[in-house]
Symmetry: C2
Subunit: 367 residues, 2 copies
C-alpha cells in the first residue's frame, strides 16, 4: 500500500556505482573521489533517499531509546505518580539525546517477553522496570541476559540481589511525617496501611513504627492497636476509619501509606460528631494539593535524574554496559509537604460557622 | 564499550556464503537449498546472531511505532487529561502491534524539527499531534510532507484544512451541562472561561451561550454579564468568583471551562456568607472525583480508539498512507458526570446506594 521509498540500491543504480560506494559517501565521504561523491549525492537528492536511523542502528546497535511499561489507566488518586515520573523521565532523557518507548504487558512473564522482543529488535538500549515486587523475575531475567536496566523500586526480598535500582526512602518519609505530628504535641498517632507485608507498604509502616517505638516506647502490641490495614481505595479507608472511631479508638493523628487512604480517612473524620485529627498522606498527588492534604512527596524529578545517572553516568549520552563499575543504586529522600486543609475540603456545619469571613481562608482545626 | 554483536557479514563468513544468501535464509528460506540453509542456520545459532527489527525496518520502512510529544509535567488539576489519553492510546496501540514513542519539544518549530528527525530516521510510522492551535504550523508541515498523522484537536482557524483529526465536541458537552442546570429549574447560569477566543475555550463557551440564548432569549450583552474570564488557575478562579459575588452578581449556577476553574469557584462559594450554587467542571479529573464535582468527561478511551482508526483503519495493524480514502475526522461526544459534592465522596446521582451501611453522608446543597 505504501509507495516504496528509495533504497541504497536505487541510489547505487541511479549513480552507476556499487552499494558500498553509496555507503562510503554516507559514512566515510573522504575516501570517495570528488566526482563520484557528487554524482551519488545528486542521486540521493533526486530520489529523495534518506539514510535512516535503522541503518545507523544496524551499525551501532544503539537506538537512543529507553523502554518502559505503561499500564492501563487506573482511575485512582495515586494513578498520577508514575505519570509524573514519566514526564520528568522523558524531559531529562531528551536532554541526553534519548527517547522513551512505551509498551504494555499483562503480567511479569509477558513483560519479559516484551523485553526479549525489544532487545532482539534493538528497539531499545535499556529498560526501566517499575513496581518491583518480592523475588521479581523481571530483574533476574534482565540481569542474566545482561540487558542494561534500572528498576524504580528495590529488588525486594532478595538481599543478595545486585541489580541496579533507584528508590524513594519511604521509611524516612513516613518517619518525617510521624515526627511532624509528634512535634505538634500529638501522641496517639495511628498508621493506615495496606494489608500484608508488601515491600513498599511494609517499608513505609516501619518508618511510623520505629518512630513511635523510639519516642514513646511502644511495643508491637501497642503499635498493632494503632495500625489499620485496608486495600488502597477511598471508600474502604473511609469505612475502616469510621468503624474505628465509632468503636471508640482514640487517635490524635493519622499517617497514611497513600493519598487514597488519607482521603478516605479525611472523609471519615469530617462526619458531624466525629473527632477530628490531622491526617498525612503519601504521594503528594494533585488531589492532595486540591483538598489541602499534607502529604509526602516522592521527588519524582530527582528519581528520574537518578535513574538516568545509573543507566548513563552523571552526564553521559549513551547507556553504560551493565557490568561496568560505578554506583548501582540510589536512595531518594522524599519531602513532607505540610498544608492546611482549605475550604475546598469538605466541611460540616460546625466547621462552616467557625470559618472567618475574609482574610484567612484556611481551616485551623486540621493541621 | 559494548562487545560487538554478530552481524550478517559474520554469519556469511562463518557459513561460507554471501550476505544475500544469509538474507534469503532469513526472509525467503524456500528459495535456498536445504544444505545451504542448514549451514547458515547453524552459523546463526553458533554466533548468536539476531536478525533484528532495524533490518526489518530497513526493508519494510515500517517501525510499528507512533510518535507523540510529552510535555514537562504541569502540576495543575487538568494535567492528567493527556496522561489518561496516553494510557488508553498505549494500550489500544499494543492491541494493534504498535508501540508509542515519546519525545519532547520546546515549541512548534522544535516539534517540527523532531518530526523531521524521527521521520528521516524511520523511527516512527506516524505522529499524533496534541493541543492544536489556530493556524497550526505542525499540521501544515506534516500534511505537506505526506507524513501520516492525526491531531487530537481540530485544525482551528483553517476551515479549508483537510488534515485528519479527532476531537471532543466540547460545545455539546458544555451545552449538556448547561441544560442539566436548566432542567433543575435554574436560570441565571454563568460561564467561567479562559480569556481570549482560544479554539477549545471559545468552542466550549458557545455550548453555554447557545443554550442560554435558545432557552432564555439572552442577547450578547446579557450573556457577557454572566460570563467571567480568568486564566486556568485555581486561586485566580477563586478570587474572580469571590469578587463577583461580593459585588452582588447573582448566579444560580456556574458552568466552567475546566476543573481547575470549577475548583476555584467551589472554594469561593464555600466561604461563609457566600451564596451557594451548583458548579460543573470540564475534564472529569481525579480531583473532581475526589471532591464530588460534577464534570464533563472527554471519553478519552474513545478518543484514543478514534485516533487509531483514522491512522490504521477500523481494525488494521499498519498505518495507512495519508492520501488514502476513508474518514478524515471524528467527533467524540463527551459525557456529563453528575455528582453530589460530599464529604469528599465521589458519588453520582444514583450513588446514595453506594454507601448504604452508613446512611447519607452527602451534602445536599451542592448539586
Amino acid at each position: 500500500m505504501v509507495t516504496r521509498l528509495p533504497t541504497v540500491d536505487d541510489v547505487a543504480r541511479a549513480a552507476g556505482v556499487s552499494r558500498q560506494t553509496v555507503s562510503n559517501v554516507l559514512n566515510t565521504p573522504a575516501i570517495v573521489r570528488d566526482e563520484t561523491r557528487d554524482r551519488v549525492r545528486r542521486a540521493i537528492d533526486e530520489l529523495g533517499y534518506r539514510p535512516h536511523a535503522s541503518a545507523r542502528r544496524l551499525r551501532t546497535r544503539a537506538s537512543s531509546t529507553i523502554g518502559i511499561r505503561l499500564d492501563p489507566i487506573t482511575n485512582g488518586v495515586s494513578g498520577s505518580v508514575l505519570d509524573r515520573y514519566l514526564h520528568s523521565l522523558t524531559e531529562q532523557a531528551a536532554a541526553r539525546g534519548m527517547r522513551i518507548m512505551l509498551f504494555t504487558a499483562t503480567d511479569h512473564a509477558d513483560e519479559i517477553a516484551q523485553f526479549r522482543e525489544l532487545r532482539d529488535g534493538a528497539d531499545v538500549d535499556a529498560f526501566i522496570v517499575t513496581a518491583t515486587q518480592f523475588d521479581d523475575t523481571r530483574l533476574r531475567w534482565l540481569a542474566a541476559e545482561k540487558v542494561p536496566f534500572v528498576s524504580f523500586g528495590r529488588p525486594w526480598g532478595d538481599d543478595t540481589a545486585d541489580t541496579p535500582w533507584v528508590d524513594v526512602d519511604g521509611r524516612a518519609g513516613v518517619a518525617a511525617a510521624t515526627r511532624h505530628l509528634i512535634g505538634r504535641g500529638l501522641e496517639r498517632i495511628g498508621f493506615l496501611g495496606w494489608p500484608g507485608d508488601s515491600g513498599t507498604g511494609g517499608d513505609r509502616r516501619r518508618g511510623w513504627a520505629e518512630t513511635m517505638r523510639e519516642r514513646f516506647g511502644l511495643d508491637d502490641v501497642a503499635l498493632d492497636a494503632l495500625a489499620i490495614e485496608v486495600d488502597d481505595a477511598v471508600p474502604a479507608a473511609r469505612r475502616a476509619v469510621e468503624r474505628l472511631v465509632d468503636e471508640g479508638l482514640r487517635l490524635d493523628g493519622l499517617v497514611c501509606v497513600s493519598d487514597s487512604l488519607a482521603l478516605g480517612a479525611m472523609m471519615a473524620v469530617r462526619e458531624a460528631g466525629h473527632p477530628r485529627f490531622p491526617i498525612i498522606g503519601f504521594d503528594n498527588t494533585p488531589v492532595a494539593q486540591a483538598v489541602g492534604l499534607s502529604s509526602v512527596d516522592q521527588q519524582l524529578a530527582e528519581v528520574a535524574s537518578a535513574t538516568l545517572e545509573l543507566l548513563m553516568g552523571p552526564t553521559g549520552t549513551r547507556v553504560i554496559p551493565p557490568d561496568s563499575d560505578g554506583p548501582r543504586s540510589r536512595f531518594v529522600t522524599p519531602k513532607l509537604v505540610v498544608r492546611r486543609s482549605s475550604h475546598l475540603a469538605p466541611v460540616d456545619e460546625a466547621g462552616e460557622a467557625a470559618a472567618p469571613e475574609t482574610g484567612n481562608h484556611h481551616r485551623k482545626e486540621q493541621q
